[in-house]
Symmetry: C2
Subunit: 363 residues, 2 copies
DNA sequence: TTGTCAATAATAAACGTTTAGGATTCGATG
DNA sequence: CATCGAATCCTAAACGTTTATTATTGACAA
């Protein structure tokens, strides 16, 4: 046995056959007799043969893995997302490669470019990205004709040619905003991540509209996408700004965490001194005191949808190869699927951190 | 441009060179003049050449990716672990492939075997496993001479030939147990995951010893490794068993979550009605009320250590190319690094859920 | 007998790299 | 002038697969 495992040739030699015969036998293709096939399979099993997909993909011009682009995996949201993706991939035997863009905690465009280079070196079959990516990165992906699905962030300003599946953030903002309006809050503070994740714009603008409708003032505080930078930013704001919010809206999970540590240190009571609501659900939200009112997105579902779609895109691209086939002689209509733009509804979970006394309705 | 990207041949053709020259130029090796090298690099850049690592690995007999074996990614612990691994991998340009064993939430040996098959098909350079794996799986890895590092679970009964880096669970149990003893709890209930993750044994036996030392009764309730099965198991226990615990110890994070939902539904107050402590820290532990007393393991550090070590193992294996194995050591300095068995200390974080009134010391 | 067909098998090329072994130049040395 | 050495570049084989093409059978029909 070589250092690299048993090869087709090893089996062929053992049986005085050609690699051709062994390949056909193992892949259950025509061109080999029942007896030879049986013999091959027997030896293959004995020797513990495991095919080398890289060699296969190289020859066939296929690519079997999918890369997931993330940025700083501190957000538990990624877990559900990955689970959702894996739930689909496992069935199909696809592999998921994880690549994190934020090398030392901070995103930079050059880091993004470098990482993409890295990812492309592995010739993935497709890419799922949690970031919108830079213009040049997207251009590169276009040139490579790479199947791409953006999740939870729409790709830059030109959406048209890329697929994405996101939370319906407009609707989510609306739901949240309306509820705040019902509470008659007058000074909203939205603490939110930078616009690399451009779901930010939708969340922000939706909230601005809602505030305008009910005549509330709104301020936006931008921070990094992690709890520490959030805490620092919020501490700075509360210490030095005259704006005294009566409700804080956390743009996502790590940010909520940062806010809560800041408030806890200041002994500010939620919701009595200050109300607090958030975007994105998380497993502990229902066990905190007070329980957190938030709009819950379906990360797992988004992951699963994105996984299904990327596989469809990959299939489509690879089927459009030669028309050749011995396995499935059925000539399908071969309809081209365009990019999909799918939004998944988020649900408002009303609990106590907004000031509601009971699980439903405003105070 | 082919569908698969620019190749060395494309560049060679453009410049009327051989692929050889182009390869040498791009990899910055001798055998090519300054001027040709410059010309090659120019064209490569223009055309956006990106090497195909799979083809390279195939030729060189190397393997560039590392597979991480997980089982049901519901545990936020995985996030830190992955971050830790990535922090090392990014620098070295290694890729991390994630493979989850628990397809539909439940572990099974056949699923494990199938997944391992899958992983081996990609010819990873090494494997990091969060599970101890079955005897046959470990045997297979031995046959493949696969570099393996186990994290947080030691490999089966025979540890000798595999590396692992885990929390010092014996010490962790001791710390926790001693603290409980200080509280004079007399009826401990340990709720813990199955022994597929065999850190369980160490945690359990450490606690049993601590209980014995202080004359406390201890019961162990096994549940699945997720919050729902935990809640079900605990509900069943509390409803039907005569054993009335005065403290519950959660074996890990999802289990703690399950316990807390169960207690919340029963309106059992922590720590007044019942104390609660846990293994493994998580970001919200300090914001729950009461704050949770627990032993915190350094997942990020474990991930980083494991990553460093797997890379060292891979390097070692690949450097040992020319000299054939298991014969005489032909006088080379080539020192072989044996498997490492590293434990990382966990720290006890005393908070209020155990009944302590102040951040330090027992009540 | 010959010819045809189908089934089975082998040969060799291809995928995108790396690399051992030559070939060609040019200048310098004996 | 012949020989050497170094530098530059090429040819071709190799990695482990798949697959188009070709060769070898044997059976059966004419």
């Amino acid at each position: 046995m070589k250092h690299t495992g048993v090869t087709l040739k090893d089996i062929a030699d053992e049986l005085n056959l050609s690699v051709y015969a062994v390949s056909r036998a193992i892949n259950d293709l025509s061109g080999v007799s029942k007896t030879t096939r049986a013999a091959v399979l027997k030896v293959a099993k004995e020797k513990g043969y495991i095919p080398n997909v890289n060699a296969r993909d190289l020859r066939k011009g296929l690519h079997h893995s999918v890369s997931l682009l993330t940025a700083g995996m501190s957000n538990p949201y990624y877990l559900d997302l990955i689970s959702g993706i894996e739930s689909i991939f496992q069935i199909r035997g696809e592999n998921l490669l994880i690549s994190d863009i934020a090398i030392d905690g901070h995103y930079s465009e050059s880091a993004e470019s470098l990482l993409l280079q890295h990812v492309l070196e592995t010739r993935p079959g497709g890419i799922i990205s949690t970031l919108g990516l830079s213009d040049s990165s997207r251009q590169r992906l276009r040139e490579w004709k790479m199947p791409v699905v953006f999740v939870d962030s729409t790709p830059g300003s030109t959406h048209e040619d890329f697929s994405y599946v996101t939370t319906d953030n407009k609707d989510a903002s609306n739901k949240l905003g309306s509820h705040l309006a019902g509470h008659h809050f007058k000074r909203w503070l939205l603490v939110i991540y930078p616009s690399v994740w451009n779901s930010r714009y939708i969340r922000e603008s939706g909230l601005r509209q809602a505030a305008a409708r009910c005549g509330a003032a709104i301020r936006v505080l931008e921070c990094g996408n992690d709890q520490f930078s959030t805490r620092k930013a919020l501490d700075g704001f509360l210490d030095h700004d005259k704006f005294q919010p009566d409700v804080i809206i956390a743009g996502n999970n790590p940010i909520l965490l940062g806010i809560m540590t800041s408030l806890q240190a200041r002994a500010i009571e939620v919701p009595d001194d200050l109300a607090l609501v958030a975007f994105d659900d998380f497993i502990w939200s229902d066990l905190l005191k007070p329980r957190i009112t938030l709009v819950a997105e379906d990360s797992y579902g988004i992951g699963a949808k994105a996984a299904e779609h990327i596989l469809a895109l990959i299939d489509q691209k690879q089927d459009r190869k030669g028309g050749d086939d011995d396995s499935k002689p059925d000539g399908k209509p071969q309809m081209t699927m365009g990019p999909i733009h799918q939004t998944i509804e988020a649900s408002l979970k009303i609990r106590e951190s907004c000031g509601c006394r009971y699980p439903t309705g405003a105070a």
